[in-house]
């Protein structure tokens, strides 16, 4: 018996020794939804994909665009409808095959295919052509000066690998489809996928043939990624040293973590807005007055003070301040006014209220479920009897996106830093190419036309004027009830040097140790 105990102790000791200083144990509330880099346009999914796959361009910490797989890019002088991108030489995928322009053509077409959630980012693209082995031409419908902004989350896959494994198109997550790429990867990124167990643990190891070896610090040799949904368990894991970095320190535990020796919290405003969406076609919420009533029934200041403990910026528009088109006026949120809201409900013919279900994620945004619960109470005061249905995001998103939800929570980050991205996903009528995250039923032909016109407007002043017009229409329609912009709080060991990225996308090749 004693012998056995000794053996166990030795085994435990051995397993702790193998975790060297260069291994980063990384945790956050929810897991990546799929490893297919085009199937889901979602922050946590991209965060893992960014370690394995590369994009043509990337943003540095200040938000400006810098080279990644593309070394330089320019719109042709004689034809501004064509962007010409020069690719990096000598890049190989994890399986050893070379990266060239055919892979770019394939990946961009794949990202525009059915089932892709990235297609709105490429809705202005007419054609993608290989000019030579290391040059790619992207032709747009009309000159699109901002196209390159849309490529920072556009991951590059290997054409040969995708063909061999029959993953020529992304799988549709909302339809519960999967394919080989859901669990397997072949990227050019700094890390190679070693093993993955969904919602449990994903192990990555440094790519020995990484093209950025001499460009970035590359101090991290292995990554162990563990989703921990419970806030208390996540903090306990950081406090006990079981993990090295958590991307979402619960707001109630900020003091506890930052006052602990050996731990630090890095804080930054996040490029992400959290809001509720409403069905504008059926049910009581199809009445504009009801939507307006619900908007002023939300006590945003109380949510900030109690639920978010000051770690949020309440807003009146579904746009973070990082985004082109943001103004102080739009950001003004209405006063919380129960009486006015009740009056609007009476005018709308719902003096006695109505029943509705609120679909809410419980592992995606900071205190998402608690915000929804608070909203249940606030809605009850104006007679709206809300049933709260909180679920993990993997189940929530298909419901929210599918159009079955009457009242749902969503958060939106804006990687392009431009309003067009919000419009194309959340405001445009839901069609094959655009509006995939607009299940509200809101559809306005004039607004749709203005959104499309943004893609080929070269006069930036005229473009900004159109953006302002579209925002005015969105604010009038009130299909969304903005709540706040999030604040990022990354908790980590104090020997780690890692800047908080405003899109909440850690790139571990940049991490260094003190």
């Amino acid at each position: 018996m004693f012998h056995k105990l000794l053996l166990t102790a030795a085994a435990i000791a051995a397993s702790t020794v193998t975790v060297s200083a260069e291994t980063i144990r990384w945790a956050r509330a929810g897991d990546s939804i799929t490893m297919d880099p085009h199937a889901q346009n979602e922050g946590a999914t991209h965060a893992l994909a960014h370690q394995i796959y590369d994009t043509l361009l990337q943003r540095d910490m200040s938000g400006s665009i810098i080279p990644s797989l593309a070394l330089n890019w320019e719109a042709l002088a004689d034809n501004p409808n064509i962007w010409r991108l020069k690719l990096r030489e000598g890049v190989t995928f994890h399986d050893g095959s070379a990266f060239d322009s055919e892979d770019v053509v394939f990946s961009l077409n794949r990202a525009m295919a059915d089932g892709s959630e990235m297609k709105e980012l490429l809705s202005s693209v007419k054609d993608v052509r290989a000019f030579d082995a290391l040059t790619v031409d992207i032709e747009t419908n009309g000159a699109n000066p901002l196209l390159v902004n849309n490529l920072t989350n556009m991951f590059m896959m290997d054409k040969g690998w995708a063909t061999a494994n029959d993953v020529l198109t992304p799988h549709d997550v909302a339809k519960n489809e999967t394919n080989f790429a859901t669990m397997n990867t072949n990227g050019t990124g700094a890390f190679v996928l070693v093993s993955r167990s969904v919602d449990e643990k994903t192990v990555l190891t440094a790519n020995p043939n990484y093209w950025g070896k001499d460009i970035y610090p590359n101090k991290v040799t292995d990554i162990i990624y563990t989703p921990i949904q419970s806030a208390a368990t996540r903090v306990a894991a950081l406090l006990s040293g079981e993990v090295d970095i958590i991307q979402d320190v619960p707001v109630q535990d900020l003091n506890r973590v930052s006052s602990t020796d050996g731990l630090a919290v890095a804080t930054a405003a996040q490029n992400r807005v959290v809001f509720f969406g409403l069905d504008t076609v059926e049910g009581p919420t199809s009445n504009l007055k009801v939507r307006q009533a619900m908007n002023i029934a939300i006590n945003r200041d109380a949510i900030k003070k109690i639920v978010m403990r000051e770690q949020s910026d309440p807003t009146g528009v579904i746009m973070p301040p990082f985004v082109n088109g943001w103004t102080e006026e739009l950001n003004q949120y209405p006063d919380y006014n129960v009486d006015a809201a009740k009056a609007l409900m009476s005018e709308a013919g719902f003096a006695n209220g109505f029943d509705i279900t609120l679909n809410c994620p419980n592992d995606r945004y900071v205190n998402d479920e608690a915000i929804c619960q608070a909203a249940v109470g606030m809605m009850a005061r104006i007679g709206v009897n809300v049933t709260l249905d909180a679920k993990p995001k993997a189940q929530h998103f298909p419901i929210a996106k599918g159009g079955d939800a009457d009242f749902y929570m969503l958060g939106w980050g804006v990687p392009t830093f431009d309003s067009h991205y919000i419009f194309n996903y959340l405001v445009h009528t839901q069609t094959d190419k655009r509006g995939s995250w607009n299940p509200t039923g809101y559809s306005n032909a004039d607004v749709d036309a203005m959104i499309v016109s943004l893609e080929s407007e070269t006069n930036l002043a005229a473009r900004d004027a159109t953006i302002a017009k579209i925002w005015a229409a969105v604010q009038d329609a009130q299909m969304y009830l903005p709540i706040h912009n999030q604040v990022l709080n990354w908790g980590m060991k104090s020997n780690i040097n890692f800047d908080v990225q405003p899109e909440d996308q850690p790139h571990f090749q940049f991490l260094t140790f003190n």
């Binding site: 419970s230 619960p250 109630q252 506890r256 003070k305 639920v307 619960q373 249940v376 249905d389």
Partner: protein, 301 residues
């Protein structure tokens, strides 16, 4: 009544301080749950009455925004914890009681049939029981809960949450009842009064229900008491795991789950008071069950 007051059972009860105290604790908890709406200062299930700004008020301290004072403090949504515990206790007790009743009816019936009829039916029922015994009952409850949730249309899911809880816990706890009743039935059915009943032409059901059942109920009551405590814990566990009572209508387990998130940040009361209540309830019922078992078992005297 006089017969009861003169009985050995009551006499023993008065001499057993543990049983007396446990009984009082259970009685107080049951009464406060039953009369919750008269005792509780607020209705925690009415979302319109919640004031978010009251959130995280410590016990007996004035809230810094609203100035309101709460006996046991408030939770993250400004819900008065004292009221929430009383209402939560009601859910816990109700689910426990109904689940035990379901398990008891099911287990006793199956046990009677298995023991009296015997043969392949006995084999079938007892092998089913054996199979179920190999899985922890909380796992079975979660399985049934998950399947039921999947089958129900979404709009019914929350209305049915409590019913589904009762069924899933009830179905996972029938085995001990069936086993005990089967054993006692097999002993009883060989006795002369059963032979007599058979001779005068009573059918199987009449014999099982009217003659055997009353004679095998003693141990069933003991098991029922212990299973009641198990069912309360099972409900709390399911709710703690987030698959039981919804957060807008919290049971004790849901309150503990909420409180857990705020333990590190020093808001200890959200976890502590519901946990203490659950502890007191489960412990008292268990001690009462143990005492019942010892008292009703002549061999231990």
């Amino acid at each position: 009544m006089n017969r009861f007051l003169d009985s050995d059972f009551f006499h023993d009860f008065l001499r057993a301080p543990v049983a007396l105290i446990s009984f009082c604790v259970v009685l107080i908890l049951i009464l406060s749950a039953v009369f919750a709406q008269f005792i509780a200062p607020t209705n925690p299930f009415d979302p319109a009455s919640l004031e978010l700004m009251n959130g995280f008020t410590p016990p007996l301290e004035a809230n810094m925004f609203t100035g309101e004072v709460f006996l046991l403090g408030t939770d993250d949504q400004g819900r008065d914890l004292f009221s929430a515990i009383l209402y939560g206790l009601r859910i816990s007790l109700f689910v426990g009681l109904m689940a035990v009743t379901l398990a008891m009816v099911l287990g006793v019936m199956l046990g009677l049939i298995a023991g009296y009829v015997g043969g392949w039916l006995d084999n079938l029922i007892m092998r089913l029981a054996d199979i179920q015994m190999t899985f922890p009952s909380i796992l079975i409850a979660m399985l049934i809960f998950g399947v039921a949730r999947g089958l129900l249309p979404p709009e019914l899911r929350y209305e049915m949450a409590i019913t589904v809880l009762i069924i899933s816990i009830g179905l996972s706890e029938w085995v001990p009842f069936a086993r005990t009743v089967r054993g006692s039935t097999m002993v009883e059915k060989e006795k002369e009064y059963i032979a007599a009943a058979r001779l005068i032409g009573l059918n199987r059901w009449q014999i099982m229900i009217r003659h055997i059942l009353p004679n095998v109920l003693g141990p069933v009551l003991v098991i029922a008491t212990i299973t009641f405590a198990l069912a309360i814990i099972a409900e709390a566990t399911l709710s703690f795991l987030g698959v039981g009572a919804p957060r807008t209508e919290p049971s004790l387990g849901t309150l503990i789950r909420v409180g857990q998130d705020y333990l590190f940040s020093g808001e200890w009361w959200i976890l502590l008071f519901p946990a203490l209540t659950l502890l007191a309830l489960a412990l008292a019922v268990n001690l009462l069950g143990d005492w019942l078992r010892d008292t009703l078992n002549p061999r231990l005297k």
